[in-house]
Amino acid sequence: MAQKLDRLKESPSQTAGPYVHIGLTPNFADIGGVYPDDLGAAMVGDKTKGERITVKMRVIDGAGTPLKDALIEIWQADAAGLYNSPAERRGAADPHFTGWGRRATDMVSGECVFETIKPGRVPFNDGRPMAPHLTVWIVARGINIGLHTRMYFGDEEAANAEDPVLARIEHKVRVPTLIAQRSGDTYVFDIQLQGDDETVFFDI
């Protein structure tokens, strides 16, 4: 017999359920007066550096219907490619940009809108630059464990072409599922849970 490793097991996930808004966006759910604001509601302020952009996201089920009870969180670098996090060791990020946003999808349209900035490039583990991207996490009723994916930017063709994560996708026809198309200052990103265009989700 060898020594015991004494590792604990990660707490198993359970679905966020239909009422995730009560806990995570109570003001959106009309539960006023408990918290002043919903966390992650405002990502940018007057002093935030970088190009202002709007990102519109939807989550679409296997029948083609947008989820009206999903919750999406995004995490991204600042305009210079630095994360506002204690684990960021390459320098100090823009103090006026948290990098984190949280939205419930609209109960009628299924859409949610993030007002943010375009992130800079950050390095992959081997030092090669990754293309600008948002890290995206999706929970909802019927989703048993939160889904991790990324949103890349359609107008960053050269950077996307050399991105080491996109390069890991064996079936190249699936790469566009991670790329949001730009129209004006707005990027539109539909996350497909199933079907021919199923979004690439990550085990990271």
Binding site: E10, S11, N144, L147, T199, D203
Partner: protein, 251 residues
């Protein structure tokens, strides 16, 4: 900024341990009908964590309101309180190495004592409690410990099978130090016979994993003549150490 990590040690920046996908529920669980159209069917793309998942925002204790961790009163009119069995829920946030994780944002939500949520899409016939909102939050202390006060939620029926009921439960959102640690789960109550009948609980295959989500009644932590206590420890993904951390700082 809260104090992340042990004093005199830089915040950790190692990659996370691989998630044990056999311990977590799979995406496609037909017994829980909503998962059928909401479950990805392709294999997940496996990656070692990059800096995008290793990093995460910081939540400081200064953002918390005085009553955020007290659902008995945080929605109640002055001098009134929510109806139901008064309880405290306490425990520690640990990682898979058994290390307490400080500065973790814990957000909770639940039904009232009758099993009714305060939500516009909720139509269960049990009444709303005018003094109960159903949301609370706290941030773990230096050793990973946390505590909040609430009333014990009731079980409730839900549209899945013709007669499916949720056991009493509290929903937990847990935000550790890295975005790759992000976790939502539910806490159940020791001794509840409804746990083993629930299609959502049964999305988890291993009975030991279900027990990990079942809080223990702790009569030693009870406040006599006031409230009972339930202990619920939460475990987040562990981190690999990096070369940077194996070297002593300043040498």
């Amino acid at each position: 900024m809260s104090n992340i990590g042990a004093p005199n040690r830089p915040p950790e920046a190692g990659a996370f341990f691989q998630r044990d996908r056999d311990w977590h529920p799979p995406a496609f669980t037909p017994g829980y009908k909503t998962s059928v159209l909401r479950s990805p069917r392709r294999a997940l793309l496996s990656l070692n964590s990059t800096i995008s998942e290793i990093t995460g925002p910081v939540f400081g204790h200064d953002m918390l309101g005085e009553l955020d961790d007290d659902m008995i009163v945080n929605f109640a009119k002055p001098g009134e309180s929510a109806i139901g069995p008064r309880i405290m829920v306490y425990g520690r946030v640990l990682d898979e190495r058994g290390i307490g994780v400080p500065g973790v944002l814990i957000e909770v939500w639940q039904a009232n004592a009758g099993g009714r949520y305060r939500h516009k899409k909720e139509s269960y016939l049990a009444p709303l409690d005018p003094n109960f909102g159903g949301c609370g939050r706290t941030i773990s202390g230096d050793d990973g410990s946390y505590c909040f006060r609430t009333i014990q939620p009731g079980p409730y029926p839900w549209p899945n099978g013709p007669n499916d009921w949720r056991p009493a439960h509290i929903h937990f959102s847990v935000f550790g130090h890295g975005f790759g640690q992000r976790l939502i789960t539910q806490m159940y109550f020791e001794g509840d016979p409804m746990i083993w009948k629930c299609p959502i609980v049964k999305t988890i295959n291993d009975p030991q994993a279900i027990e990990q989500l079942t809080a223990a009644l702790d009569m030693q932590a009870t406040l006599p003549m006031d409230m009972r206590a339930y202990k619920f420890d939460i475990v987040l993904r562990g981190r690999r150490s990096t070369m940077f951390e194996n070297r002593r700082e300043g040498n």
